[in-house]
């Protein structure tokens, strides 16, 4: 089985086949032997033999992403966003929208629009705040992930919004 897996904007080709009670795994051509034990529906204990370095024990967990349908793989304390594009990849419908196309900025929680910081036609830089929503006792800045031009603005300052409400679209 071969998968295309995107991490931090880079696609890695990962092939997996069963081998001697474990798996032969190749990541971009680098080969490992992996003994995988499932510890719960989200978690795997891996013992990885990497050529001369045998027996690396890793405790990993895989969960659906919190916001946009990607996966989050947790390695140690580090959550790593991952997008599956493989033949049996999960949620491949969502995966395509993550790196290209318009950015749709929606509020993850219900709240009130405190300040709308952009208007249609504005050019925004990566990480620029575009709208401030008050929720859970705090004012939260929603930011553009990438630069672009504001194509749509929804909602007025002072308006209440539901979770998932689309506020700004950036082309």
């Amino acid at each position: 089985m071969t998968y295309e897996i995107e991490i931090a904007g880079r696609i890695r080709r990962v092939s997996v086949r069963r081998e001697g009670g474990g798996f032969a795994v190749a990541v971009d051509g680098r080969s490992f032997h992996v003994d995988a034990a499932r510890t719960d529906p989200h978690s795997l204990s891996l013992i990885v033999d990497d050529g001369p370095v045998p027996g690396t024990s890793l405790d990993v967990a895989v969960a659906a992403g919190a916001s946009n349908g990607r996966l989050t793989v947790q390695v140690g304390a580090l959550p790593i966003p991952v997008t599956m594009n493989g033949r049996r990849g999960w949620r491949s419908g969502h995966a395509a929208a993550t790196a290209a196309g318009p950015q749709r900025i929606a509020t993850p929680m219900p709240g009130k629009i405190v300040r709308m910081l952009v208007k249609v036609g504005d050019v925004v830089a990566p990480r620029q705040p575009v709208v401030v929503v008050e929720a859970m006792k705090m004012e939260n800045e929603l930011r553009a992930a990438r630069g672009g031009t504001v194509a749509e603005v929804h909602g007025r300052e002072g308006a209440s919004v539901d979770a998932g409400a689309l506020l700004v679209v950036i082309q």
Binding site: V14, R38, L44, I80
Partner: protein, 506 residues
């Protein structure tokens, strides 16, 4: 006192339930719609629905909580913190219903609820306050009068809401030309946040530390202050990490600080648990800031270095008991403790709340670790409340070991389905300024501004390789795929052994 209703939710409700169990008292929970399956409901003896999820309609609804208390047959109410904990009207309603309020008197809540009244009480007790206006600014005060008051205090100035908290209704003014507009905007924010537009002026100290003193006071005139906590690591005026003792407080200063705290509490006839907050300036002078008339989120670190169960004492004091703790021991900490507030927030996306279902959870444990939490796999972090998942506490013989244990515990934490502030804390505990104890209340905001959104932990190429491997294996195996079977118990062998055992006995 037999049965205690806990007018709260989440980890603090669970914390109070545990104290009840330790004392063989029966805990009663209340819950909103979205909290039906919450941990505090499951751990309580009895549980009562008090309305829809919006706080105003449930956890802030005094009538429904009193009604639940009556139905349950509770004889006392513990408010936890947040929600109604510092609401004098609630304390009065509890008393009117013939129940014991486990907290201070309504008069004490009122007296310390106004920041200007609290400053006055501290001054009366002979404790220095941050220089500022003794009373709220007159609503009709002219621009010239306000400017004169500010000049008398000296810039930079803070405009602060009298009813304030959490940085709301607060403005910093460096340039006198900005004073008038700052007063206007602080007033309007205070009005909408607290229903009270009153503001006053206070000098902004340069790089102060936030130092606070926990105390317990009984109804017989005993006030016992505890070793200080330092809570200088704050993001936008919200504490994120607390520790005790402070690296900046010598035993001599501790003696002065704790007696000052006790003097303020005595001046207002305070009873039960409370905390006096101070600012410590760069010159080592401390100034009264405010009093919190409730249990604090960070109370566990005090418990760890003194061995005192503060919630148990809250209940004992409310029953009329005398405090018989040794005051000298309470300001002589055993070791060092640190608390990290683990929130369901995405630290790499400007700390935006990350509500949702917790898909899996494994909490850290082991020597010196305490995890005060109400989270579990399958539970939601609701969108309606403060998204605190856990108060993770590490104790050790000294500060470097406590930091090492906290790092170990953070590395063990596994929480899936929501983003958490765990990676942020791993980063923070590796920062040299924190390790050296060089923090002040603006420290974190300054560092975060300079980082400009850079991720706190960046995976190495190796870790990315592991992530790719894990995602591929999970996809191939599927989440319900076979687990390596444990060696099947050999039933026939057991029978044989049992038979042999039987034969031996014959």
């Amino acid at each position: 006192m037999q049965k205690i209703l806990i007018a709260n939710r989440g980890e603090i409700a669970v914390r109070v339930i545990r104290a009840c169990r330790d004392m063989a008292l029966s805990p009663v929970a209340v819950f909103s719609e979205c909290d039906r399956a919450a941990m505090h409901v499951r751990l309580a003896d009895r549980a009562f629905a008090i309305g829809p999820s919006a706080p105003r309609e449930s956890y802030l609804n005094i009538d429904r909580i009193i009604d639940a208390a009556r139905k349950s047959g509770a004889d006392a109410v513990h408010p936890g913190y947040g929600f109604l904990a510092e609401n004098a009207e609630f304390a009065r309603a509890v008393a009117r219903a013939g129940l014991v309020f486990i907290g201070p008197s309504p008069q004490a809540i009122d007296a310390m609820g106004s920041k200007t009244a609290a400053r006055e009480a501290a001054s009366r007790a002979g404790v220095a306050v941050v220089p500022g206006t003794p009373r709220p600014l007159d609503a009709s005060a002219s621009g010239a009068e306000i400017a004169a008051a500010a000049n008398a205090i000296g810039y930079p100035i803070l405009v602060k809401a009298v009813a304030g908290g959490g940085g709301k209704g607060m403005r910093t003014v460096v340039d006198p030309a900005d004073l008038a507009s700052a007063v206007v905007s602080a007033r309007s924010e205070a009005q909408s946040a607290f229903g009270d537009a009153a503001v006053y002026l206070e000098r902004r100290l340069t790089r102060p530390r936030h130092i606070e003193v926990q105390l317990l006071a009984d109804g017989h005139g005993t006030v016992v202050p505890f070793v200080e906590r330092e809570c200088s690591v704050q993001r936008r005026h919200q504490k994120v990490l607390e520790e005790t003792p402070s690296v900046a407080i010598s035993p001599a200063v501790r003696a002065k600080l704790t007696s000052a705290a006790a003097a303020v509490a005595k001046a207002v006839g305070y009873t039960n648990a409370g905390t006096i907050e101070f600012l410590l300036d760069e010159g080592g002078e401390f100034f009264f800031l405010e009093m919190n008339t409730r249990l604090q989120v960070e109370h566990p670190i005090t418990e760890m270095v003194t061995g005192v169960d503060l919630v148990r004492w809250q209940i004992r004091v409310a029953r009329g008991e005398r405090i018989d703790l040794d005051p000298a021991a309470m300001i002589a900490p055993n070791g060092h403790a640190i608390e990290c507030r683990i929130y369901a927030e995405d630290p790499d996306n400007n700390f935006l709340p990350s509500p949702g279902r917790i898909e899996f959870l494994r909490a850290p444990a082991g020597p010196g670790i305490r995890d005060d939490s109400a989270a579990a796999a399958g539970l939601d972090v609701p969108i309606f409340y403060d998204p605190l998942i856990s108060k993770l506490v590490a104790w050790a013989e000294d500060r470097p070991q406590a930091i090492a244990r906290m790092r170990r515990a953070l590395g063990e934490y596994r929480i899936g389905g929501v983003r958490t502030t765990v990676p942020f804390f791993v980063w923070l505990l590796g920062e040299q300024a924190f390790v050296d104890g060089r923090t002040h209340t603006a420290y974190l905001d300054e560092v975060l501004r300079d980082r400009n959104g850079r991720p706190f932990l960046e995976p190495s190429a190796d870790v990315e390789e592991v992530a790719a491997m894990a995602a591929a294996l999970q996809a191939m195996l599927g989440s319900t795929a076979e687990r390596k079977p444990a060696a099947a118990p050999d039933a026939s062998r057991w029978r044989t052994d049992a038979r042999l055992e039987g034969l031996r006995q014959v």
